[in-house]
């Protein structure tokens, strides 16, 4: 499978997430779109890790190599961080909902200029 396919695919997902962030007003949806972006990155990382692994394997004529493992480890860490972020983020959103009974980011305009 050519790596470019993966690159394009992940970039597409990433951009979709980005567009979502830009076009939606619901804080939660926006947050979800950010998660989508993260997932795109994850997939890309895995693809790259496999690519490097394949190259290494080809170089060492198919002796199984551990090259590229760090990519997937990184993905693992991303997920960890994401989890933590989500807990905090949702806590913040809930806190705000308690106060203004809305999660519409366009209501966030006390602070400006």
């Amino acid at each position: 499978m050519p790596i470019n396919y993966y690159i394009f695919f992940c970039l597409t997902l990433f951009s979709i997430g980005m567009v979502g962030v830009l076009t939606r007003r619901n804080a939660i949806i926006i947050f979800m779109c950010i998660e989508l972006m993260l997932n795109a990155v994850n997939l890309l990382l895995v693809a790259f890790s496999k690519m490097h692994n394949g190259i290494a394997a080809a170089a060492a004529n198919n002796a199984p190599s551990t090259v590229g493992g760090d990519g997937q480890i990184f993905v693992f860490f991303i997920m960890v961080v994401a989890a933590a972020e989500v807990s905090v983020g949702l806590a913040i959103i809930v806190m705000m909902y308690r106060n203004i009974h809305s999660v519409d980011i366009n209501f966030l305009n006390r602070l400006k200029n």
Binding site: S15, N62, Q72
Partner: protein, 179 residues
């Protein structure tokens, strides 16, 4: 030489699966944006995650595939769902973003995509690179585990701080203070 033939043999199925999953993912993610009702968005997002897990499996990264399902599709998305239910948000609660804003957002994202894609497509060194699909066992739990607890033990330890702070955060923000 041999590796080439390997790829050659299994190309068709893999490719079909690849396109299938990719199409599904893209469609689902679009639906995340387009569906008015947050709950639907969440569900669509879960679909995306499943598709991506599928990709992981395709790439023979089973560990991540599982983790992805458990953490994201399982824990996180449930959390989202839970929050949305709690706030009983539905289609009516979110007024439409201003049309110009939407347009601008789409255009900006599109530009970004175009730039990045053109960048990648011009990356000559990537033109010929192939991804090793189902072979290679670095994605297996055994190997990742080894790696995680040898080279990456320190980061692993340190993430605990992250969770501690997240926990504290939950306390600070979530706990109703008598005042």
């Amino acid at each position: 030489m041999r590796c080439h033939s390997v790829i050659y043999d299994s190309m068709s199925i893999v490719q079909i699966l690849f396109y299938l999953l990719s199409g599904l993912a893209v469609f689902a993610s679009l639906m995340v944006l387009l569906s008015k009702n947050p709950v639907h968005s969440v569900l669509w997002l879960i679909v995306v995650f499943f598709a991506i897990s599928g990709h992981y499996i395709l790439l023979n990264a089973q560990f991540l595939a599982i983790v992805n399902l458990i953490v994201y599709a399982g824990a996180i998305m449930v959390l989202f769902l839970f929050v949305i239910m709690l706030m009983n948000l539905n289609a009516s609660t979110e007024p439409n973003q201003h049309i110009w804003m939407k347009l601008a957002g789409v255009i900006a994202g599109g530009c970004f995509l175009i730039m990045m894609v053109s960048l990648a497509s011009q990356a000559g060194d990537m033109a010929t690179k192939q991804v090793l699909m189902k072979d290679g066992n670095i994605g297996l739990i055994k190997d990742l585990g080894k790696l995680l607890f040898s080279d990456f033990v320190l980061p692993f330890e340190i993430t605990s701080v992250l969770f501690l702070s997240a926990m504290v955060g939950a306390v600070v923000l979530g706990k109703k203070d008598k005042a």
